[in-house]
Amino acid sequence: MWYYRGNVVAVLGALWTVAAVAGETQHWALRRVIRPELPAVRNRAAIRSPIDRFVVGRLEAEGIGPSSSADRTTLLRRISLDLIGLPPSAREVDTFLRDESPDAYDRQVDRLLSNPHYGEHWARGWLDLCHYADSDGYLTDQSRPVAWRFRQWLVTAFNSDKPYDAFTIEQLAGDLLPKATVEQRIATGFLRQTLSNREGGADLEEFRVAQIVDRTELLGTIWLGLTVGCARCHDHKYDPLSQRDFFSLFAFFDQADEINIDAPLPGELGKFLEAQPQYDRQRRALIGPVESRLTEFQHRWEAKLLYAAQHPGEDHVWDRHWEVLGLVWGGNLGEGQLEGCEIVKRDHTQRSPNQHDRILDYFLRHGTLVDPPAESESLNLKQLSEKLEKLSGEVPWPTRAMAIRAALNPRQTRIHERGDWRAPGDAVAPNVPRYLTDRSRPAPRDRLALARWLVSGEHPLTSRVAVNRIWQTFFGRGLVLTSDDFGTRGNRPSHPLLLDWLAHEWVRCQWSTKALHRRLVGSATYRQASEARRDLAALDPDNVLLARQANLRLTAEQIRDATLAASGLLSSRIGGPAVRPPQPPSVSEESYGNEWKPSTGEDRYRRALYTWIQRTSPFAQGVTFDAPSPGKSCVRRERSNTPLQALTLLNDPVFFEAARSLAGRLLRAPLTSDDARIELAFRWCLARSPEDSERTRLEAYLRDQTAVFETDPGAMRQMQPLAVDGRNPKRAAVWVGLASVLLNLHEFITRD
């Protein structure tokens, strides 16, 4: 007995030691998030929020003091640009400056959080992550005219402060939720941002696999902060992620198909339901007379297709027909390209009426060419197809949306040896990496369970990774600098306890993104001045310790939006399909077959969020200012500084048009002196008033520019100043110049 008990003690002791060692050696990002104690600080005056205790505590340890608060104008411009992506109007600045109540700043924050432009700005950040675009990618790069439905979902989700757990679940598995709504299914459009290859000869399975790999990597990057793609070909070199782990994650998405759904916009459903019975009747009436022979004919066609799919290489004509089904299905509509193939694979008795109709329509259009034409002719199928098409053309179909559904025909996922999809290895079931799981709980087996596992509140990575990305947006760099890599090769956090406090606090606040944003911008750390400090130049050149705010160049989208806003051109319309603002035709001519037909009217001046994104020839102004490549997830944008940016802001007709419009606004203002106008121009563009030195320099510019136009009236006339201000063309031309100068200032394109 004693002997026995002693052993238990020994064993337990040994286990404890193992556990303790394991605990110590566990990579920091995988440890449970525990709410840390708030550090003690000496300088109580510098504290506005718990966040500041962590930051100031650390600074005090280094013997550095924080910066004082930025002036109020700078602060308002900062929170406007950070929360809604747009600069404040002069009136908003005035209101704030006049408001002397202690909660004036907080009320501005609340105003901005409930501004509908907030959702637009934050949607853009999420679109970077899932590499959204309005086209397929690859050679033919066909249009996805309803891709915007997902973008719209995002705008609404941010505006309504959808908690991050629901936000996650709906995007990864909205279709699997009980009684899923149309909106929840539109959310799965997140998974549809993968590229589609419709190039003739593209292997359907190869590019389907590429999509699943992409989805798996998106999950890894966005929620886990791990470079899971490294384990596609071999076990991860640095993190304990095996190739089997990668394909177990892959398997979740392998069990899903791309599908577009009817997602009626307001007002569409009633009209459709009204028209539907008659359409169904007429369609049945047209098909009825030939139905039995037609069905038999179609089934023979399907049987041959299926045979070819299962026996590639035997008959290249039918190989080709199978391939074409997968390449052209729903092309230029952004439909799931393999939907037709999946319907054919499904026994016809098990198809839904909709699937039945759609494959019949395809067959009538493409299939009848390939069997004995005599039969098709005797049935008059070509005529039937045309009649059906005409009939369908009269129906007010609801607008569609790109979505995901559980696979129509289940697949057995296998490991791809050396990452080669043509070399299938062991079968694997959907599962999450062992080292990330709590083994006492059942492991997730489908997408919905996967999504719930991510946001159970106990996952060590989900909240840390997301909080860090949000921090990065407000401070220019993450607490973990490598915001895309929380693995062992990534950077360690600069403020580990702060990161954990935020991660914990966010979950405690029911994952409210707005609450988190409010917390961050309310901190003294955020509100610090951004001016460079001599004492920090050597001590902390990269501002890791956060003794000041950062100067951040605006994003491509913000630069366009701010320019249009300052010049009074910006359309404030929210939502809707993508638009094509003007750009030189040579941009789209770079790629295979794209055409850029500029939008007209208000659509020329929409926020950049709504600009059409063509993957093989993205919008030029965006590329120049580091909008990410729409082919790959972007977690951290660059902020480059190049001569091409100078040429764009100085010479791009869009930006010069903005300068003309701004000049017109300034000249129409009821002001009598140049001085007052310079003041107004500054307030419109930079929110602040000019310093004397700036005023003097601009007055000198006005004189110099006037002299130029006096000696060169031809140039003055070319500027078409009468369209700017009819009363005094020379003055108008000079002010266009001045307006363009303000819109080119470094300060104008910077958030200080």
Partner: protein, 481 residues
């Protein structure tokens, strides 16, 4: 006294004198951004400062003529008389063993080239009758007949040839080289891209000259043949040079006042970039202004003929860019994707490009630039020995399908052993049978010519050091002089 101190003391003139010298002289580390992402401070702060490679280079410049769409090696460079006997027959099964490629269907029949081949130069290099001019340069060319790639689809294959990976988001060869070498030009971008075509733009579009995870300053800048050579090079209507200068002067002064107040290090760089943009406005049109070129040169590049003018202008511009310190010029010509009508399609593209490409080689040679300049001519893969099975197999309208297993690329100039043919394919050109060279080997060799160990030219991204050649690539010493 560093530039920041100069600025702080308001000694504007001295600072501006330096600023006017361009990025290379102004951008001291104290002034510019410290992003903290790489350890290499100098590279961060002076992205275009000329840098030394790992070892003494054989070439300083690259002109990469990318023939997108895949020119048919069997009708241009790799004659297969044995195919005559097999013409119209199924491909012998022995060639197809172990293949599972989606595009290369076993049911196609062998298609002997209708072209006539002849030996050229002292080295006796063979070319088809579609390349009467390049063939005259045989003794300057190294012909590689044994290349292979990993994929048979245009865009992924173009990505791996241009960027080393079939996936999006990797830096292009030109970006790597500019990242490694910097640029000697003070008024032009370091990596310039030019396009021409016989109908369609390039399949992969801008993803082929992107900078991937490298800083975007290393992205290829498109020099356009329509509209402005560089986007927005032309001033807006009514803004003449004098007004542009006035705008720049007041911008500089206001930006500088801002710098004095905020100490934002990006401002100095912004000022320098506005000045460089202003210089580009003069320099870029000058590149395209051929008025001082002699009639002989114009003839050499085919500038006076409609057929050759487009590609010829790009070739001549490439020379002029190289002369002015640009390190990497990439020309794209599309599309060589002759699935059908091989005879006419291939002829058109050869007629557009053969004379100017040969002219470029001759011109560089006579100016002594060829020793320092590596020219590459080639596509993303080859074409099948068989008739195309998908589209055009009616008589006289035959084409060839995509073929990743064996294709030909030409190399010429800096560091390359000239007048030789490297590698060989089997009797129908299906597989490589001697000296197999993978795309990554070619890339390793190109970097070697420029003085780089391809395994050491790396960039830290997502926790790992990435390189152009992924995990492969070996320098092919046989290609080197």
């Amino acid at each position: 006294m560093n530039d920041q101190e100069l600025l702080m003391r308001g000694q504007r003139r001295l600072f501006l004198t330096r600023a006017a010298g361009g990025l290379g002289t102004i951008a001291l580390s104290q002034l510019l951004s410290h992003d903290g992402l790489t350890a290499d401070v100098k590279r961060r702060t002076e992205p275009f400062a000329p840098r030394e490679p790992h070892f003494s280079p054989r070439a300083k410049n690259v002109i990469f003529i990318f023939m997108a769409g895949a020119p048919s090696q069997l009708d241009l460079f790799d004659p297969k008389p044995a195919m005559e006997k097999l013409h119209g027959e199924a491909v012998p099964a022995s060639f197809l063993e172990g293949l599972s490629d989606g595009l290369i269907r076993g049911s196609a029949t062998v298609f002997a080239s209708p072209r006539k081949f002849q030996k050229f130069g002292d080295c006796g290099m063979e070319f088809s009758d579609y390349l009467p001019n390049l063939s005259r340069c045989a003794d300057d060319i190294c012909m590689v007949r044994s290349l292979s790639t990993d994929v048979a689809n245009h865009h992924p294959a173009q990505l791996i040839m241009n960027c080393g990976s079939t996936m999006w988001g990797h830096p292009s060869l030109g970006s790597w080289v500019t990242y490694g070498l910097g640029s000697e030009s003070q008024n032009m971008p370091g990596f310039v891209v030019m396009l021409s075509n016989s109908g369609h733009g390039v399949d992969g579009g801008a993803s082929l000259w992107g900078s991937g995870f490298l800083p975007s300053i290393y992205r290829g800048v498109t020099f356009r043949s329509r509209g402005d050579a560089i986007l927005h090079l032309t001033n807006p209507p009514g803004v003449r040079r004098s007004t542009q200068r006035l705008r720049l002067d007041v911008l500089r002064d206001l930006n500088q006042l801002r710098f004095q107040r905020t100490g934002d290090r990006e401002i100095a760089s912004r000022i320098a970039n506005y000045e460089m943009g202003f210089r580009m406005q003069d320099a870029a049109p000058e590149i395209l202004d051929f008025s001082r070129e002699t009639t002989t040169t114009r003839t050499l590049y085919g500038l006076d003929h409609e057929r050759t003018r487009w590609f010829g202008s790009n070739c001549l511009s490439a020379r002029r860019l190289i002369e002015r310190g640009v390190r990497f010029v990439q020309l794209y010509h599309t599309t060589w994707d002759d699935h059908s009508n091989l005879n006419t399609g291939l002829k058109t593209n050869c007629e557009m490009t053969d004379l100017p490409a040969a002219g470029l080689i001759q011109d560089l040679k006579q100016r002594g630039l060829l020793e320092d300049t590596l020219i590459i001519w080639g596509g993303e893969f080859g074409r099948t020995p068989m008739n195309e099975v998908r589209r055009g197999n009616s008589r006289g309208r035959e084409g060839r399908d995509h073929h990743p297993f064996a294709f030909t690329t030409l190399l010429c100039g800096g560091g390359i052993k000239r007048g030789q043919v490297v590698g060989a394919t089997d009797e129908i050109g299906y597989h490589v049978i001697r000296d197999p060279i993978h795309v990554h080997d070619l890339q390793a060799t190109i970097l070697h010519c420029l003085g780089f160990d391809h395994q050491r030219l790396t960039y830290r991204h997502q926790g790992r050091d990435f390189r152009l050649t992924d995990v492969g690539g070996e320098v092919v010493t046989q290609l080197l002089a």
